[in-house]
Symmetry: C2
Subunit: 316 residues, 2 copies
């Protein structure tokens, strides 16, 4: 039996989520978006990073209980159950980003910026925990806003797994991961045909680099388009967009083909669904010719990529 | 004494070089281009890949002497001496791509697609030998043209060295290398501030992927812009352009800033010089913040990049 190799897939961009907005209300919005995706014929929809709440790492918390209130201990849970049920009813799998609190049998807690892949039976078939945490582990004095992901999250401990899903090979990453070519390559080396990702990207550069601020949308797309082309994969990228608690986040949620072309893009900075027909085999020719890794990669000369973290200037 | 950190740099695109065109004539063209670069205030100019001859790997040769006639045994030599002298006279260093034949003391020959970095004293201070050889090691039946780099060249054996040059850190690569993020990262891990490269890129995709043909200029720039931004480096890229022996090569030679923006681009498909003022420190902020490798890279999860050449699909 031939596998189904053409999928309709959707990206569900979300507008701002207020600090006071309940998970119940947010899930209502997500169900509406999933229904739209379904109406557009989709069997898979990508939601943003940390989709269930406001982007909470922008604040410093004195109160640990308040901090932990942003995290999910179980998934699905009382709030997200309806989303999983909806996936079954509509036959629409999804990617969901959320903050995950894991407690082991000794009561030790770990905190991850997590995404999951959920199938049309409502089963979690894949999990990823964000590895490239941006920002700082302490508040920055004088910054227009904080970005404390390095304080609140542990570095993901699952690597970059790929999954057989809906007849193709799916990978995941989250937000800042998309800027790192290493992420795309580790996924590409597993033959991914679709990479799903969510992001929350403030428009304003916190380091006062006004020029980089102007370029935030360009950089967003540049990294994903290069990752798509250089690994012959579809990219489905969902932003949480718009002005959230006074901070303007870029939108530009998009669907990128294995040629690196943007084939669908959100026009708003609000809740919005875009859909594309996605031939999972479209990247084959790229992976068999110009980016045939087996034929062309020369790993003997890539050593420093895995042996060395920071840059070392030449001595000559 | 503060190092000079702002340079005027040029890219010297070249139009077609006919199979019958002598090296003497080609060097005349290159001297004219170097003079133009000098008039534009430059202290460094980048010439294309295999600049001294036509792009000879497009043919299959019965005659080994004919094949070897495209290679340089010594550098500089009788043909290129004048270019080196000109560099001294004008105070203009250069990057030159050429085919290099190296014979060891036992008479064993090796063949490389090579580039060199030449300073304003006319000294070769750096050499690179192309590592990502495109094309095939045997002629392809029915192809519109051949691309036999894998037949005629050995894989470069010098890695991706970086050099202290003109007050900055310079790296080199050649043509197809620019499509591989590994190349940019290995150079980035040496703190490169400028990457010089030459290319010969046929517009027509040999694999009959007409869609990729339309996208050849997009892919050319996409890979270089991503490499520039993700490593905070300037890129100086020189094409051999136009219709050469019936094959149309893309132009689009350009100067890319560390933000990934194209700040100068050739308009023609012929001999043409573009120049930009290049602040070698412009990438510092990028390398100190969003792409601070020491802070953000997680090499523990990059293992397959260096342990595995080809792609392996997941078993789950």
């Amino acid at each position: 039996m031939a596998l189904r190799r053409v999928l309709n897939v959707s990206v569900a961009q979300m507008g701002p989520v207020a600090r006071s907005e309940s998970r119940h209300k947010v899930v209502n919005r997500m169900i509406k978006l999933m229904e739209e995706a379904h109406q557009q014929g989709s069997s898979f929809v990508v939601f943003p990073e940390l989709a269930l709440t406001t982007f909470f790492p922008r604040w410093d918390y004195d109160d640990n209980d308040e901090l932990e209130s942003w995290f999910e201990v179980n998934m699905p849970n009382a709030y997200t159950n309806r989303l999983f049920e909806c996936a079954v009813q509509l036959g629409c799998g999804f990617y969901l980003g959320y903050a995950e609190l894991e407690e082991d049998s000794l009561g030790r807690k770990q905190f991850f910026n997590t995404s999951i892949l959920v199938d049309t039976k409502g089963c979690i078939i894949g999990k990823y925990r964000k590895i490239h945490l941006p920002g700082t582990d302490e508040p920055v004095t004088g910054a227009s806003h904080q970005h404390l992901e390095k304080k609140y999250f542990d570095v993901g401990n699952l690597g970059f797994p790929a999954f057989n899903f809906q007849g193709g090979v799916f990978g995941m990453c989250i937000c800042n991961d998309r800027r790192w070519p290493e992420v795309w390559r580790v996924l590409g080396l597993q033959g991914v045909e679709v990479v799903a990702l969510g992001y929350n990207t403030p428009m304003e550069n916190r380091y006062g680099l006004s020029k980089l601020t102007d370029l935030s949308m360009f950089h967003n797309h540049l990294c994903m388009q290069a990752g798509a082309y250089q690994n012959g994969t579809w990219v489905l990228a969902a932003a949480k967009a718009g002005v959230e608690e006074g901070i303007h986040h870029i939108g530009g949620s998009c669907i990128i083909s294995p040629t690196g072309e943007i084939v669908g893009i959100c026009k708003s900075e609000d809740d919005e669904v875009i859909t594309a027909e996605c031939d999972l085999s479209e990247g084959d020719k790229i992976r068999e010719t110009i980016f045939n890794f087996e034929n062309h990669r020369q790993i003997k000369y890539y050593g420093s990529i895995t042996s060395q973290t920071g840059a070392l200037k030449p001595n000559n």
